[in-house]
Amino acid sequence: MINLTIDGRAIQAEPGKTILEVARENGIFIPYLCYHPALKPIGSCRICVVEVKPGPPRPLPACATYVAEGQEVVTASPRLTAIRQELMKLVLINHALECPICDKGGECELQELTHALGVPEVDLTAIPATSPPDYESLLVERHTDRCVTCGRCVRLCRDHVGAMAINFMQRGYFTELGSGLLPLDCEFCGSCIDICPVGALINKQFKYRARAWEVTKTEMVCPFCGGGCTYELHLKDGEIMRVYNGETALLCGRGRFGWPVLSSPERLRTPLVRVNGELKEATWEEALTAAAGGLKAVLEEAGPGALYGVGSPRATNEANYLFQKFFRAGLGTNNLDNPARLHYVKALSALGQVFGWPEVKEADGPHPKPPAYTSPFTVKEDTKGSGFTFVLGFLEELPRADAALILGADLTPELPPLGWGVNAARQKDDFKLVVANPRGTKFDRWATVSLRYKPGAERLVVAGLMKALLTAKPDLAPAVPAQGFEEFKESLKKFSLKEYASRAGVEVADLEAAAAILAQAQAPAILFGTELLSQDKGDMNALALADLFLLVGKPGTPGSALYPVADKANTRGVCELGVLPDRLPGLLPLDSPAAPAFWGDKKVAQQPGPTLLEVLDLLEQDAPEAPRALWALGGDLLRWLPNRSRTEKLLGKVKFMVVQDAFRTDTAKLADVVLPVAIHAEQEGSFISSTGRLGVLKAALTADGVLPDWQIICRLASALGVPMSYRNPAQIFAEFARQIPLYAGLAPKKAVGKTGIPAELKGTFVPFDLDISLPGRRPFTLIIGKVLQHSGSYTTHEPCGTLVVTPEGAVSLNPEDAAQLELKAGDKARVISSHGEVEAKVALDPLLPAGVAFLPEHFAQPAAQMLTLNSNLVRVSIQKA
């Protein structure tokens, strides 16, 4: 600690902090303009000047001067006031004073500073520097004549968002913020809006709808993806005015602009019941009676095993917990799964094999009456953790990685916060980045090595990397005790390095360079996405990466971790709360010694249920154990399961289907009873983000006609003879948290595995399959994946704000491939696989290699899963429609 005085007050501060930071922490006011807590200081506006002794005779910028032992800082003096006032006048000369009509009025830092610094009239004149406002760009409105050239937006967009979409133009006296071309062509995250101190950047959704002081603010977790961002929801008269993040400013476009989807006409507002073959509107009483009646009939006829449950990565932890409790404690079966089976669950099973399933021993508790959404367990001295949870990365630590491998993920669309984390990490001079993807992606720009491999060749790339690592450093040993290393090395001998490279379609030298980066890294991070997990051998891909991390990872060093993408708001939660056929809440095995205590005298069935994919096979075989009834907690199965026509046929065999969803999805259209659910701020509950953060949703909006999932489950379970009643979701959280020592120390905004539990790690190398053949002879390999402006299908309903940026799904082609097919951008093309075909507009993308095409997964049309068999990779032919 450092001792200094500020305005005569003795203060202790951590070394490495700036005077401004220390003053703010101690409640001492120093005005500032170009500084923002989320950005590195640049010291350009000089409004924050202070007198520092010992130091030069001139005042120093507090935002860019570090604290030092024995420093005496003076933050207010006549000289400082004069300097600050003069500087403010210079800022104000060319500032369009439009406060009455400016959207920033009431929360403008310039207004506040002018007031705080008592700036008298501006007695200077100069040539007016004016520039016309930009009303044309989507979502963001720019008034450059209100800009104070603090550069906050430019730095945020460049260093954190990584879009570099705005910069200063006409540098000199006439400096203005510009984007080169009009209109703005960027990621439309809107982060620049929230970091701008003035009204130069305006949120079009908010403009003229409310004044800053009229809104009520609710802090909550963003429900649009697994990023787990927290933001403020601003409401007026019960309506959302905007989504705002004053703290770090960073949000993605879906999170910031997606909320109008809540009022979509496609939202379901009344329950539906099938009468004479047609879905008709019904009251809640009628619908719940019909659902209970239909399910009871099946259960009575065919026994408890006849009902299968599909949980939801959009639903809260509380809803998913109750859902599996109904099956386990109520019916005594494990007949349930969730749609993450298609990707994230594959990562879990691979991680479980290599690092073991998570377990926490000797947690202190459960203590009575913990605060809401807080674990009743605490971490004590001899608490010990083990298993893969402790090698999973924490978002806040990603910037501390000194090297990163991004494999099989177009990172920003997959999970924007991981993109921000890597951008923050690359601000360090020694940071090295390896980007491996069949397509060119945003992060190639900063890659030390880019590996452009053939679609589906991930495992060959990883095997090649390990081969190169072990050749260069034969004595390389894992950082934690590991088994099976010798056999594993044997398995890599299948091919030579040259063969791995040529089969994967990359250069030996690039593999060697990438391996060298990983070998030298002190804190390497490995990030991978659903693009690689959604392949039929996604579990093998994850296994390869888990092995690689066992070999080069430095578990325990902040930033050195595995970062698999759990894409939806609660993909991680639905799995961790046990909506899996073979795992209980806390990911405990069915035969865990803790299991009997879960639900009183009801024993946990020891027989695992079939997985979601096995269920389809059972239906296809008309097997006696095939489910006759299905209860789906959201998740449009037709949209997400591969081979749509098969899914459609097989779901047709299910006798009775209950679907809870917010929208009239294609799967809902097949159901016998559809129960409309609350989403977003219409309900309370918690999520676990991709990186383990516990986020809490607040019920700030009134739910018009719909009910939260947990209430529906309680009512339906009770009607089926499994009584459930809870006061609120917090009570449900309290119930499951008592069963999960893994969550010891967990509380809102804290992350699973990062609550201070010391971990004892060990690993087992598990050889993985090296066959990457993709069936079929068609000329193109189609990759089905994510685009930035959408998250699942949630954001594809009008009037979701991001639809103005990406209104539809197009098939992207390399321009030369397109030219050969005589296709131009915007033309209609037929995309044909052996399983089906779709029509889609053509987009040209020079970042795609020849012979590779890309189709987004989000849209109802083109329905990507019409084309697939069992993987997000499929061979297709493409022709003019």
């Binding site: 705005i166 910069n167 133009m169 006409q170 000199g172 510009g178 080169g180 071309l181």
Partner: protein, 151 residues
């Protein structure tokens, strides 16, 4: 976009970010301005953000983002010319060519610019078309001068 024409320029460089200014200079000389599509391609090839290119291009006066006309009309607004009627010349040219200062006429024939002292104050007001000087220009001489260049 004429890919070959741009390639002829790009192929002489290594494709590194530091090649930006010489590449832009060559494009400026070759095309008479920095066309949008070409700039986008330069951004891609040199791995320089587009906004950074525009930031550079708007800083240096040697770069122009709009096509220059076939003929460059420059009117002196240095102190002497300013006093001797330069601004009236600008108005007259601007209305006859139908173009604002800094822009190019619709038919692509003339760009109109104002400049600082051209060093011929004794003959003020002075204007230039391409490399040729016109001295003691009065408003009624403007049509005759333009006629020399109108095709």
């Amino acid at each position: 976009m004429d890919a070959a024409r741009l390639e002829a320029i790009l192929s002489r460089y290594e494709g590194e970010p530091y090649d930006l200014i010489p590449v832009l200079q060559e494009i400026q000389d070759n095309y008479g301005y920095l066309p949008k599509d070409e700039v986008k391609e330069v951004a891609r090839r040199l791995n320089v953000p587009l906004t950074q290119i525009y930031s550079v291009a708007t800083f240096y006066k040697m770069f122009s983002l709009i096509p220059k006309g076939r003929h460059q009309v420059k009117v002196c607004l240095g102190t002497t010319c300013h006093l001797k009627g330069g601004p009236r010349l600008v108005d007259s040219l601007s209305s006859r060519l139908g173009v604002e200062v800094g822009y190019t006429s619709k038919d692509g024939q003339f760009s109109l610019e104002t400049v600082g002292c051209l060093g011929s104050c004794a003959q003020a007001p002075v204007m230039m078309v391409d490399d040729k000087y016109f001295a003691r220009v009065t408003v009624d001489k403007v049509p005759k001068i333009l006629k020399l260049y109108q095709s």
